[in-house]
């Protein structure tokens, strides 16, 4: 088990180094960084000295080493547009994005699993058909359109929910949360639903398909032959066996949720990392873009690692094959 975790962790480090190469090369592809920093009238000698002081004369491999070393210490340089350390900007924005992503995922998991189980167990009811239809909409309509439609309905027409921003936030150390104020909670509703809708439909369809599959297995038939109650069979036996693939998808999707948050954050002017990234793209603020890339990859890789470990908790068969392999 430990060896398994360790091996996965080493793989994760490998992936992060690869991402580091990509984000490092962004600086070089996007032109000379010195040009981005100085004015038109800077002389060649001044440029050369800046170049030297920034270490841009060093061989590429040395520069890359510095870059990775700094990135590992969470130093991503200074933003061109804000003139502030990128890491400060990211940390300031991260709680907003994470809160949104977590709320969206919880919403997607809860409603997706409930709807999936229901539409598997009551396959022919009208509600199950309605869920299927809704899920089709959720999968095919683009996120921003749903967001805009919701803003139109709930903010503009009905005036129930705020159309942008996070509402009032409370500071807890460096973390800011909108979960503790009414306006913060109200502001979370629409972005969370917008962001989570796609995952919800995905999870719902997955749970439904898996559940139907599991209900056909021999051990469910045998559980019925043992006279277990319907509830024990459906929720004790069938649902738990359904959850293994659901955890994978939900876990991997959490990374996409954070990545897709760019769109939702733009629609709702949500002050998170995604919005920061979009602004950075508009202003060719390479340090922020590179750092964002690293951050999102780090989150992806970490989630993958956690999902792999979670598997072994849900499915005992993996536990022993994992330990037997070593």
């Amino acid at each position: 088990m430990l060896a398994f975790t360790l091996r996965r962790a080493i793989q994760a480090v490998g992936v992060m180094i690869a991402v580091g190469i990509i984000s490092f090369s962004m600086f070089r592809f996007a032109g000379d960084p010195v040009n981005q920093m100085v004015g038109m009238d800077t002389s060649g000698a001044e440029r050369a000295s800046i170049r030297k002081s920034l270490g841009l004369d060093d061989p590429v491999i040395v520069q890359f080493g510095h870059y990775l070393g700094n990135a590992a210490q969470f130093k991503f340089g200074i933003s061109y547009q804000f003139r502030l350390p990128v890491s400060n900007l990211l940390i300031e924005r991260m709680p907003a994005t994470l809160e949104l992503a977590i709320c969206a995922t919880i919403f997607a998991m809860l409603s997706g699993i409930l709807m999936g189980v229901y539409s598997a167990l009551r396959r022919d009811s009208w509600l199950a058909h309605a869920f299927q239809a809704v899920s089709l909409i959720g999968i095919s309509l683009p996120t921003f359109l749903i967001g805009i439609l919701m803003i139109y309905l709930f903010s503009v027409t009905l005036g129930w929910l705020p159309s942008f921003g996070r509402g009032d936030v409370v500071h807890i150390g460096w973390w800011t949360t909108g979960l503790l104020t009414l306006s913060g909670l109200k502001a979370l509703i629409m972005p969370s639903i917008t962001l989570g809708l796609f995952q919800m439909t995905l999870i719902m369809r997955l749970v439904r398909a898996e559940m139907l599959e599991v209900m056909r297995t021999d051990y469910i038939r045998f559980a019925r032959a043992r006279g277990l109650t319907t509830r024990a069979i459906h929720f004790g036996h069938a649902l738990r066996n359904t959850l293994v693939p659901v955890i994978t998808v939900a876990g991997l999707q959490f990374g996409s949720v954070i990545a897709f948050a760019i769109i939702t954050e733009t629609v709702f002017q949500w002050p998170g990392m995604g919005l920061l990234f979009v602004q950075a793209v508009q202003n060719v603020d390479i340090p922020i873009m590179a750092a964002y890339l690293m951050m999102v990859s780090l989150i992806f890789v970490t989630i993958n690692l956690v999902v792999d470990i979670l598997y072994t908790i849900v499915d005992p068969r993996l536990r022993s094959t994992v330990s037997r392999a070593h």
């Binding site: 051990y219 038939r221 045998f222 559980a223 019925r224 032959a225 066996n241 849900v314 499915d315 068969r317």
Partner: protein, 328 residues
């Protein structure tokens, strides 16, 4: 005579499909007494398993019991409300399925599955149920049951898993055990152990056993009586020695002729020509008539009803001395 544990009368099971209604079980009747093992043999698709599932009430739509009745120690169970029937399953009727590898939920410890079943049916505390589970595992011959109870199904071999399945089937002291091909998925050496285990448990607890299999060897070894099924009907039923030594129905004769003898005489094994008809194309008259060497005119028109003949009962016109009125 005491009441039989299981009494099936004129059972019919139908499956509704787009192309019409198929009758998988047609007019099947048999009894199983306390402590008796009834073997049910036949080719694949003869309706053996469906009969077992009908008795335990697990025929799923589009299938349904369309006629006849099933009584368990006198109580009619084929028309019980679902919740009452659930309480009968596992408690009064235990079932063993063919494949022990897939019968247990892979995500739960063996002990949890047994305890769960015990506590569903018996009013026992968690600890008492666990003690009982350990005793059961010991009874079905699992070594070190107090340790193995915390194992997961994948940590058991096929034979051991089938023992766990048997422990699950008997955990509430059922009156009847339905074993549906309990040894088909196992090694030959393990088969013998499982068969003798089922036989011993049936004897020790006075449980009636319905043993569904296509293996005549298993039947001959274990059963007290045997029912030979063909195309959803019982062709012949009787004490196992009589049916094996002196089969009456041409189909039963064919089956027995296909068993190699240990004496090793250089006789060619008899083969029954053709194959069993599909449910959608069951011939008129006796369903066996196209394959039967002794078929005559009446067999193609009239459906034979079971007739008592000595200790056996056979559904064949050859044994009907009364001339048929409709055979013209």
């Amino acid at each position: 005579m005491t009441e039989p544990v299981l009494s099936v009368r004129n059972l019919q099971v139908e499956f509704t499909s787009r192309r019409g209604t198929l009758r998988a079980i047609d007019d099947v009747s048999f009894d199983i007494a306390k402590g008796e093992v009834l073997g049910v043999v036949g080719e694949s698709g003869a309706g053996k398993s469906v009969t077992g599932l009908a008795v335990i009430g697990l025929i799923d739509p589009p299938g349904r019991i369309s006629g006849g009745e099933i009584r368990l120690s006198g109580l009619r169970i084929d028309n019980l409300p679902p919740e009452d029937m659930r309480r009968v399953r596992g408690k009064r009727i235990g079932m063993i399925f063919q494949d022990p590898l897939t019968s247990l939920n892979p995500l739960y410890r063996v002990g949890d599955q047994i305890v769960e079943t015990i506590r569903t049916h018996l009013n026992l505390s968690e600890t008492a149920a666990r003690r009982r589970a350990i005793d059961l595992l010991a009874e079905v011959g699992i070594p070190a049951p107090d340790k193995r109870i915390d194992g997961y199904p994948h940590e058991f071999s096929g034979g051991m898993r089938q023992r766990v399945v048997i422990a699950l089937a008997i955990c509430a002291e059922p009156e009847l055990i339905i074993a549906d091909e309990p040894t088909t998925a196992l090694d030959v050496s393990v088969q013998a152990q499982i068969i003798s285990l089922i036989k011993r448990l049936g004897r020790d607890h006075g449980t009636a056993v319905m043993l569904v299999t296509h293996d005549m060897g298993v039947i001959a070894e274990t059963s007290d009586r045997v029912a030979v099924m063909y195309a959803g009907r019982v062709a012949e039923i009787g004490p196992v020695q009589d049916v094996v030594r002196n089969p009456l129905h041409p189909y039963a004769k064919g089956l027995m002729g296909a068993i190699p003898t240990l004496a090793g005489e250089d006789k060619r094994l008899v083969q029954i020509p053709g194959s069993m008809p599909r449910l959608s194309a069951i011939p008129r008259g006796c369903s066996f008539n196209p394959r039967c060497a002794s078929a005559f005119d009446r067999c193609r028109i009239d459906r034979p009803e079971p007739l008592p003949r000595g200790t056996q009962s056979v559904a064949c016109h050859l044994y009907d001395s009364v001339p048929a009125e409709s055979a013209a």
